[in-house]
């Protein structure tokens, strides 16, 4: 069979990773509401979304690093959304759209490095593509087009920092541990 194809084991693994992140995010859910309450009085309520964006996007880059094949990052992120939907998460089916958007953002980072380079550069590019793609989606979904230019720039920077910290630095630390344990395929 072709080398660049996901097998049953990989699919189960990707779905399990989606579940792990789903479980651990749940513990972090209060941060989003807390930030929203804190930021609304100064007119930056929607920025809670940007500040926590990185947390929701960790599964994609991690899956990309773990399986190292085209589609892994997308499916890792997307399966997380599928699992959340099937478990009866309130955001439900719309999660699938957000999951797909985040998946595309994460996948693009690996596409631009042609699935050959797996280091900090990949994570940086992946963070950039994630920032741009998810911001584009929020432009329509959360009505970002109505905000002032200055606010948009601040929110874009906040989003990039969040994605770089969580989906970049923390993912890199997890990947380092997995590499030391010789669990990542060469």
């Amino acid at each position: 069979m072709a080398k660049h194809q996901l097998h049953l084991r990989d699919i189960i693994l990707l779905a399990l990773i989606g579940i792990i992140f789903g479980i651990i995010y749940f513990a972090a859910g209060f941060i989003y509401n807390g930030l929203t309450i804190l930021l609304t009085p100064i007119g930056y309520g929607p920025m809670a979304n940007d500040l926590t964006m990185g947390i929701w996007c960790m599964a994609g880059p991690l899956a990309g690093f773990l399986l190292r094949m085209p589609g892994a990052a997308f499916l890792g992120e997307f399966f997380g959304a599928v699992v959340e939907m099937l478990l009866g998460d309130q955001w439900g089916a719309v999660n699938l759209i957000s999951g797909a958007v985040q998946g595309i953002g994460a996948e693009l980072g690996f596409t631009f490095t042609l699935y050959k380079i797996y280091n900090w550069l990949t994570l940086l590019i992946s963070s950039l593509t994630l920032t741009i793609v998810t911001f584009g989606w929020d432009w329509f979904r959360n009505g970002y087009s109505h905000f002032s230019g200055q606010m948009l720039i601040i929110m874009l920077i906040a989003r990039f920092i969040s994605i770089f910290v969580f989906s970049g630095i923390i993912v890199r630390l997890i990947v380092n541990m997995l590499q030391r344990a010789h669990l990542i395929k060469r």
């Binding site: 779905a15 792990i20 998460d89 309130q90 955001w91 089916a93 719309v94 009505g143």
Partner: protein, 217 residues
């Protein structure tokens, strides 16, 4: 209604209303969803949850648009407020009335999704409670050694991924030893029908929503 078509309808409506800013379409869909939910036997505790979940983000967006955006538009504030509730009520209708197993079967039979995806995700889903327990165990094991594993701690994820690697190996082996072969033609015990009636409902719903979107602000 056929689960795949239902999913398609929900996604189509959500996407379309994301790219159009219409207030009445959102409100009518929310009311329609509530009627469907009452009909399906939704409990009042679940209704409270449905109202609470999007409340903070919805209020935050409303206040930001009306008070802090350059346009100060009350209309767009209301559109975005109702849009979040539209997403949540559509999503709830879908998850509340659809069985994951039926959805996986329908996607495999009606949409020709490769069976490895349909059953791989479903198999993992059944490990959900065990995975939750595993995360709790990892945390407890850390605490016994005086190590607190926070949700941002890479070690927590690393250990959970070790569990996932092992389980995915074992589960795939178990499925294959029970005769699951990737890409092989399968027979099905339960057929999910895709009838003319399903198509009619889908098309009617989409047409009605187009009319609402065009006719009302």
């Amino acid at each position: 209604m056929n689960p795949s078509l239902k999913l398609f309808t929900v996604l189509f409506i959500s996407l379309e209303l994301t790219f159009t800013s219409k207030l009445w379409a959102n409100i009518i869909i929310i009311i329609g969803c509530l009627i469907l939910l009452i009909h399906a036997g939704f409990r009042w505790q679940q209704f409270c949850w449905l109202v609470l979940v999007p409340l903070f983000p919805a209020i935050a967006i409303f206040i930001t648009i009306v008070l802090f955006s350059p346009s100060h538009s009350l209309f767009y504030g209301l559109v975005l407020f109702s849009r979040l509730y539209m997403y949540v009520s559509l999503g709830t209708v879908f998850t509340f009335t659809t069985n994951p197993l039926a959805l996986a079967r329908s996607l495999e039979q009606n949409c020709h999704l490769p069976s490895k995806y349909a059953y791989g995700v479903l198999a993992a889903l059944n490990l959900m409670t065990k995975m939750k327990q595993a995360v709790i165990t990892i945390r407890a094991a850390g605490q016994m050694r005086g190590v607190v594993l926070h949700w941002w701690s890479p070690t927590l994820y690393f250990k959970a991924i070790l569990v996932a690697l092992q389980w995915s190996d074992q589960l795939a082996q178990a499925m294959e030893s029970h005769g699951f072969v990737e890409g092989q033609a399968r027979t099905s015990t339960i057929n999910i029908p895709l009838t003319v009636y399903d198509w009619l409902i889908t098309i009617t719903l989409i047409v009605v929503i187009q009319i609402i979107i065009i006719a009302l602000p």
